[in-house]
């Protein structure tokens, strides 16, 4: 009963309307409201289909590709790393550069002095690049920094001079060890870390693999699952890791703004009931549009797979299992901090948290759904709805993440109940 009253309070008015509009616009901008052009095609051996590429730990592929990439970064002395998820460009000092050169030398058999010297001439060039202008092409790299690429210059010439090839007697485990020591010099999080090297092993997907993949999509996801997952990924990252906080803050501020707090404090109702009902009302109000949108999105593919068995509940499953925990944590932070401080500070806190989390980016699918990610990402870009196996592999991680945030939000709500009860009794008076 009280739940309906609180729901009505949350839904009535402009803020909620804005909430819905922003959710629709945000999701529409990511193209996840209509998948009708994204059919998963059944592999056909007779047609000349390209099934895409995958990463595999094949030393013969990885070693040359990795050493080439390392040498290129060495020349520019600008190494891309993701130590805590943020992209970070590392610049090494002379000592460290020398160590990297040593490692490259060890792997390639080229004299260290030669390698070291090639870097010298290149870095001179690099320092002048901005001034030279003509030769340099400066472009934003999308991370707030700039990528400077030399159109013609010594760097390239030098690179041509040094034909890098991995020593014949280099074993893969040795190679991995050496590359790992580069990662250590860089402070971790680079592409050369032992577990990241696989990124250099690109191989085309074979027909048999494509069939296996298709069978998983068909039997495990029943087609709809993958799309619902991609929808959830965006819904959480773009909207539900931040927006529900507004609804929570508004409902928690409402009594005070209406000068109604004391009329409510004096009532018989328990603090547990009033806070819980408000929390649930915010959740219901937040989830309502996203459930509708998830179905609008999912229905768009229902006729792509005639005569197939689809899972019509997939959107609902992912809404509740994947998106709801995000709504819970943002709403809980909102309601808790608002009751604690009587200010909308929670909006700033959530905005900051969200901003940092989104900037953690998606280095790789497996690294982006870790335990503490506010918005765990599971999105490998195009054809994500193909990646059932990835999802099966990462499921325990995602589950742990979602359970963590669900638990955390329950703790926050219980905390809020105590805060609210204390306020009712005038125990927070120092704030006046």
């Amino acid at each position: 009963m009280l739940f309906w009253s609180e729901l009505k309070k949350t839904i009535a008015g402009i803020p909620y309307l804005l909430f819905v509009i922003v959710v629709v616009i945000a999701l529409n901008s990511q193209g996840v409201l209509n998948f009708s052009n994204d059919k998963v095609i059944e592999p056909n051996p007779t047609a000349n289909q390209n099934y895409g590429i995958k990463n595999e730990e094949i030393p013969e592929l990885i070693m040359p590709a990795a050493i080439e990439a390392l040498y290129a970064e060495f020349l520019e002395n600008r190494y891309q790393t993701y130590p805590i998820g943020f992209v970070k460009y590392v610049k090494l000092n002379d000592d460290e550069q020398r160590k990297v050169a040593e490692i490259i030398a060890a792997i390639t058999n080229i004299e260290i002095e030669k390698i070291y010297a090639s870097q010298d001439s290149c870095s001179d060039r690099n320092d002048n690049a901005i001034v030279v202008g003509d030769n340099a092409n400066i472009q934003p790299d999308g991370n707030g920094g700039f990528v400077i690429s030399l159109e013609s210059g010594i760097a390239e010439e030098v690179q041509k001079d040094l034909e890098l090839s991995v020593r014949k007697d280099m074993s893969y485990s040795q190679f991995k060890e050496l590359m790992q020591s580069v990662d250590d010099i860089l402070g971790g999080g680079s592409n050369y870390a032992a577990e990241s090297l696989i990124g250099y092993g690109h191989v085309p997907i074979t027909y048999e693999e494509a069939v296996r993949r298709y069978e998983l999509v068909k039997n495990r996801d029943r087609f709809t699952g993958g799309y619902a997952r991609l929808f959830s990924d965006y819904a959480v990252a773009m909207t539900f890791s931040i927006l529900p906080v507004f609804l929570a803050v508004i409902i928690a501020m409402k009594d005070k703004r209406a000068k109604m707090s004391e009329l409510i404090y004096i009532r018989k109702i328990s603090s547990a009931k009033i806070i819980t009902m408000r929390f649930l009302a915010v959740l219901a109000a937040a989830m309502l549009p996203v459930i509708v949108l998830s179905y609008i999105s999912n229905i768009s593919i229902w006729n792509l797979y005639p005569e197939m068995k689809l899972d019509y509940l997939a959107p609902l499953k992912y809404d509740l299992g994947w998106i709801l925990p995000s709504a819970m944590i943002t709403a809980a932070v909102g309601i808790c901090l608002t009751e604690l401080t009587d200010t909308p500070i929670a909006v700033a806190v959530c905005a900051l948290w969200w901003f940092i989390d989104v900037n953690l980016g998606m280095k790789s699918v497996s690294a982006s759904c870790t335990l503490f990610r506010l918005a765990p990402r599971h999105n490998s870009g195009t054809k994500s709805y193909f990646r059932t196996q990835d999802y099966i592999d990462h499921f325990p991680k995602i589950l742990a993440n979602r359970l963590l945030f669900t638990g955390l939000s329950i703790v926050l709500v219980v905390g809020t109940i105590f805060i609210y009860e204390a306020k009712r009794k005038g125990k927070f008076l120092w704030k006046k």
Binding site: S5, I266, K425
Partner: protein
């Protein structure tokens, strides 16, 4: 379970500032008036009774329930804060229904109770009016109605007549008197007239201390023989103001009829019967309260 409120040696601080000191009161069913200037501590005392504030020391029991038992206290208390409003976009019915829900009334009870109460406070025809569109007087009446939703044994109303016009004020007092037939009603005010018209038992609060507790009758008795009137020329007024405690003035052409208080008799003045204002002023003065009196009693 008895039907009285017992307050013993109640102390309350806001930081270092003491807002109530050693307040001891016993309040019986009927209307109880709490009189005091602004800042006297009336609101503090009432909020403490409504379990909305923590006391520093002392004991309070309401109908036998210790104030620390907020859960039970909330069931038997109705409270009309000095300043309040409700969600502006709700209408009268919706706001009442929401508050009744929080008071634990079921649907049937809510419907009946709200209808009776709106009738009682004369708001039935405004039931669909938005809260933001209510006048000050209507809002106060709605305030009383909401405070009565749970049919409380104790109704606490904090300066309910402030800001009402004379007609509304009289109606409001009558409403309270009616309500007080079956429960304790504690009314705070800084307007003596409110008390005079409605309360049998009163307490005077000043600087957090109880200066007087008892019946209106006894309060008047204390000031008996200490109130006089005299007619003087306007020019004499400044000296008079300095020397006497003036509680009223009437100007008639060049002459001014002055009403004043004095403990020692006086010549060429006419003794007259004290009213509550006189007695109240007398009490404040006797207790060393700093008063600035200028013609009419100003208790602000």
């Amino acid at each position: 379970m008895n039907n009285i409120i017992e307050i013993k040696n109640l102390n309350k601080f806001y930081g270092k500032k003491q807002a109530l000191s050693d307040v001891t009161l016993s309040i019986k069913p009927g209307m109880f008036g709490l009189l005091g200037r602004n800042g006297a501590g009336k609101t503090t005392l009432m909020r403490t009774l409504a379990a909305l504030l923590q006391k520093k020391s002392g004991s309070v029991t309401i109908c036998g329930i210790p104030i620390e038992n907020e859960k039970e206290i909330r069931k038997i208390i109705g409270y009309l804060p000095q300043e309040f409003s409700m969600y502006p976009s709700m209408n009268v019915m919706e706001a009442m229904d929401y508050l009744a829900l929080l008071s634990g009334l079921n649907k049937q009870e809510r419907r009946e109770r709200i209808e009776v109460l709106l009738q009682k406070v004369n708001l039935t025809e405004h039931r669909k009016k938005k809260i933001r569109a209510l006048s000050g007087g209507m809002k106060r009446r709605l305030g009383i109605a909401q405070a009565l939703l749970n049919n409380p044994k104790v109704l606490i109303v904090d300066e309910p007549t402030a800001g009402l016009d004379p007609e509304e004020r009289i109606r409001f007092r009558n409403l309270l008197s009616e309500v007080a037939e079956e429960r304790i009603v504690i009314l705070s005010t800084h307007i003596v007239g409110d008390i005079e018209a409605t309360c049998e038992n009163i307490a005077i609060l000043d600087s957090g201390k109880v200066l007087y507790q008892g019946t209106v009758h006894n309060l008047l008795a204390v000031a008996d023989g200490k109130v006089f009137t005299k007619t003087v020329d306007r020019k004499e007024l400044p000296t008079l103001k300095r020397d006497l405690m003036i509680t009223g003035m009437h100007t008639q052409g060049r002459d001014v009829s002055v009403r004043f208080l004095t403990e020692h008799g006086t010549s060429n003045a006419e003794a007259c019967a004290p009213n509550i204002e006189d007695a109240y002023m007398f009490y404040l003065k006797k207790n060393g309260a700093e008063l600035e009196v200028n013609g009419n009693v100003i208790l602000e």
